[in-house]
C-alpha cells in the first residue's frame, strides 16, 4: 500500500524534498496522516542522532469500532500502518524500520509507532549486470 500511496500523496500535496529526517517526520505527521486518516500524531522522542522518532496519537480511526478477541491478543491489527510508512519511504530512497510501541487494542492508553532510519538507499545495478 505504501509503495502506491507515496505517489498519491506527492501528487496531491505537492510537497518537495525534505532536507533532513526531522522534516520528513513532520511531513508524515502533519500532512500525510492528516490527508489519509484525518489525525495529526505528535512527533516525540527523538534520539540523539535525529534518526529515530515516535508518532503518538490517541484517536486511531482504524480501530474505532474494533475489539480484539482473546485468542488474537498477539495480533498487531494496525501493522498495516507500519507497512505503509516503510513502503512509502522506501520509494523515496529512505530505508526505515517501523514498530508498535503502544497499541490501544492491547490495552494501552494510546498508540505509539517508533520509526527508525536505517539508511539512505542508492539505485545500484544488480549483480547480473556487473562486468566481470
Amino acid at each position: 500500500v505504501g509503495v502506491r500511496l507515496i505517489d498519491d500523496f506527492l501528487a496531491k500535496s505537492g510537497v518537495d524534498n525534505c532536507s533532513n529526517f526531522r522534516e520528513t517526520a513532520d511531513v508524515i505527521s502533519k500532512v500525510a496522516f492528516k490527508m489519509f486518516l484525518g489525525i495529526t500524531p505528535e512527533v516525540v522522542n527523538w534520539n540523539k542522532e535525529n534518526t529515530a522518532f515516535s508518532l503518538v496519537f490517541v484517536d486511531n480511526p482504524l480501530v474505532d469500532f474494533v475489539e480484539l478477541p482473546p485468542q488474537y491478543m498477539e495480533l498487531s491489527y494496525c501493522n498495516l500502518l507500519c507497512g505503509i510508512i516503510v513502503g512509502a519511504l522506501e520509494m523515496v530512497q529512505l530505508q526505515v524500520g517501523c514498530t508498535f510501541v503502544k497499541d490501544v487494542l492491547r490495552g494501552d492508553d494510546g498508540t505509539e509507532l517508533r520509526v527508525e532510519l536505517k539508511g539512505l538507499m542508492r539505485n545500484v545495478m544488480s549483480d547480473e549486470y556487473k562486468e566481470k
Binding site: 502506491r4 507515496i6 505517489d7 498519491d8 506527492l10 501528487a11 505537492g14 524534498n17 520509494m91 523515496v92
Partner: protein, 105 residues
Amino acid sequence: YYQLFIINRNGGLVYSKSLAPTAPALSTNDSLRLGSTFHGLHAIAQQIAPIVSGGIERLETETFILQCFQTLTGVKFVVTAAPGTPDLDALLRGIYEVYSDYVLK
C-alpha cells in the same frame, strides 16, 4: 500537444500516447527505445551538470518543446508539444495526480 510518455523508475516505458494526428507515428519498439534512452540521458545530464541538477527538465528546439517532470519516486512524465505551448509543467503535474488516482489504485 504531440505526445505523452510515462517512464517508470527503472527506465522502462510504461505508457505512450499520441495526442495529435500530426505527431510522428512511432512503432511500439521505437517508443520503448525512446523511453529508455531518455531515462539514460536524463540520468547522465543529472550527473554531469556543473550545479546541483534534477536532470533534463525542458528541451526547446525550433520545431518542438519537450518537457519532463520527474517525481520524487522516480517516475518521469514527458510531453512533447509545438513551440510556444504554455503551462506544460502544470499539465504534467495534473497528469501525475490523475495517474496516482487511477493507475495506482
